[in-house]
């Protein structure tokens, strides 16, 4: 049996979302001037001159920030069912969730103390 009730709006949004980039590109193609020059081929017209290739090694700090983000992203996914079922679960589940959060707060404090959250 197939239900999917309430997804009509989702489908509508999906259609609109896929239409917007296509409309933007096609309309700018129709509206823009046809002249082509050297300046127009640069990445940022009348911006900074790009130097070197785009494929460079990134600082490892970016990776650290994204990893801290990933940890708390996963934490959110775990806590969401708890928050939805909060009324049916009672006090014990509240304490268990606090333990879960406390273990991750240890990690956050560690990251903070080690300066992983700072761009020094």
């Amino acid at each position: 049996m197939f239900v999917l009730s309430g997804y009509e709006y989702f489908l509508g949004f999906l259609l609109v979302c896929s239409a917007v980039p296509a409309i933007a590109i096609i309309s700018s193609q129709l509206l823009r001037p046809k002249r082509q020059g050297v300046e127009r081929r640069t990445t940022y017209e009348s911006g900074m001159e790009p130097i070197g290739g785009a494929w460079i090694q990134f600082n490892i700090r970016y990776y650290m920030f994204s990893l801290v983000f990933v940890i708390f992203d996963v934490e959110t996914v775990f806590l969401y069912p708890w928050a939805v079922a909060f009324n049916q679960l009672g006090l014990l589940a509240f304490a268990e969730a606090l333990v879960f959060i406390a273990i991750l707060v240890i990690g956050l404090v560690y990251a903070w103390r080690k300066g992983a959250l700072e761009w020094s």
Binding site: G53, I56, Q57, Y63, I71, Y80, E96, A97, K114
Partner: protein, 198 residues
Amino acid sequence: MNLAEGVQIVSFGILAFMMLASAIGVVLLNNIVYSAFLLGVVFVSISGLYILLNAAFVAAAQILIYVGAVNVLILFGIMLVNKRRDFARIPNAWLNQGVTALVCGGLFALLSSMIIATPWSISTAPIAGDAALVEIGKHFFTDFLLPFELASVLLLMALIGAIVIARREFFPEEGEDLSAESNLTLPERPRELTGGRR
């Protein structure tokens, strides 16, 4: 009003095509960045399949974790790698490729025979829908409590391990020549050696 069966079949077809095409693209494209983005498309299509199966929470978790987290980590991992180089050809590469094809084909045959042989019993129980999320929450705090708490310990280990690996404990001595260490073109590269606190 429910979406009709036809819409389901058409959506399944679109999602399956998206998934297979981008999975083939992940393997075949030479530019590894394109492969990583196409992997994101694969994950999004899998999430669409979950929505078709009335598993909205699993679909949201798929988007959040795989597209938002795992794929971002893969992209950052690619960007941490230095510029692409020209690799030398491996001698007897056909042998490796043959063995790989054999293993992959065997795995495919095994899995497909298992899928065909399994008697899939279609449940007649009513679909939980939005109540499934409450059920998941109840399971988390009753019979799946230990894995739930262990997950947080696992996340803690991942976080601390990443910080230990990624943090630079290295401070160069005065006058030490660093030009041999890195041949990078990133303008901000020398600055990070002075930073960091203990």
